[in-house]
Point group: none
Chain length 241, copies 2
């Protein structure tokens, strides 16, 4: 993939300085698409000062209300996470993440998502991420500044994509499903599982999380999502037959 196919997504950022410093960090590493999800601050003079010459990125940044909206068109969504997660989300090192992006076919789009300064991404927001990435740090002081985290991951990606402009040695691939198409599948799946009695609507959470994790890590193609939804539809029609 190309640097131009990657967007940086900041969720509910509180400090303008971090937005500015993120823009600068992005521009240093050849990235230009920034999306702010429900920012808790404006782009003020602190943001502009910290952005240094990267005002074009601030000017062009997109604002949306929710994370699903931000990542709807991405085939690959990676969330940055400092905490180990009990559910064992597939966790990448920054270098592995860069390799994974490097192996994506041209034209695939990806999002790299960063949470709040203090609390990061919520478990609910992580549901929309196909992978998490954790920056290794000293064990007793693991909280990186937000823009620093953006800088480190953008650097790993830049180095990886620069290094090898060679095409991946993979056969031409079918187009991947977008995050929005995956969400459509999960909704359909949940509906059917409630109908068949597999899922108890009183406490559905845990099971859907496990299923999301399972299907998100496959890298489903659009055709495959259509097949899986065809199966769900056949179950829905089945009873009436």
């Amino acid at each position: 993939m190309k640097l131009d196919d990657l967007q940086i997504v900041l969720v509910e950022t509180s400090h303008p300085g971090n937005i500015g410093a993120t823009a600068r960090a992005m521009k240093n590493m050849g990235l230009c698409h920034l999306t702010l999800v429900a920012p808790r601050c404006g782009i003020d003079e602190t943001a502009i000062a910290r952005a240094s010459g990267a005002l074009d990125i601030l000017d062009a940044c997109r604002r949306v209300d929710t994370l699903p909206e931000a990542v709807a068109e991405s085939e690959l969504v990676i969330g940055s996470s400092a905490r180990p997660r009990s559910l064992g989300w597939p966790e990448l090192t920054p270098r592995r993440m860069a390799d994974m992006l490097g192996e994506c076919a041209d034209g695939q789009r990806a999002s790299l998502v960063f949470g709040r300064e203090r609390s990061g991404l919520s478990n609910e927001e992580l549901q929309f991420c196909h992978y998490t990435v954790k920056i290794p740090t000293a064990p007793d002081y693991s909280s990186l500044n937000l823009a620093m985290a953006v800088q480190l991951l953008a650097y790993e990606i830049f180095v990886r994509l620069q290094q090898e402009n060679q095409p991946p040695m993979d056969v031409p691939r079918e187009p991947k499903a977008s995050a929005g198409e995956l969400e459509g599948y999960f909704e359909h799946l949940e509906q059917v599982l409630v109908t068949t009695g597999f899922l108890d609507p009183a406490q559905p959470r845990h099971m859907m999380k496990r299923l999301r994790r399972l299907y998100q890590r496959i890298g489903l193609t659009r055709n495959e999502v259509n097949i899986l939804r065809g199966i769900l539809s056949s179950v829905q029609k089945y009873r009436k037959s």
Copy 2:
């Protein structure tokens, strides 16, 4: 070498925020020795705010008047440089620099030297550096924030030195399903798909191949296979209910 044998040296830094952010970046990556050469600012509240919890590093930092004094006890001195130097100083990538430090014997001491925010290190100061290191950046926007540069190089060093000491930080994994368990799932799946009418028994082949390919590439765990079979059983019971 060990992280404890490396010092970060900042030459004539102008912005207190950069000193604070450098302390935080260092602490994140397990570094603790900071030396300021003739700083152009004090450690004020901005520095303290940006240092976040890394005040111990600010408290312990050493101040000296000249670069030779700062690096006098180091066996290896590496200067960070954004500009290509006409003199053709031996220039390392950050990863090569980390390798070089990783290959130093225990007990050897090294310094990593960063110049002024605007103008970097002078050619005269570079005379005291055995190597230079250049962080790769987008060609049209190569000026990194000072603390960001410290963060990136400290990260490369941390990852390199960690690598040797610790196993990779992978989440403990659940046991994978065996091939036999997967086959059991595929048989069960085929049965159900024929029952719901999704699969035509007259020509079932192609669809099952696609589904096998899909599920085989996930690396399903035993628990996940049990969940998927639970779903199939719920569909089988569904009609009778």
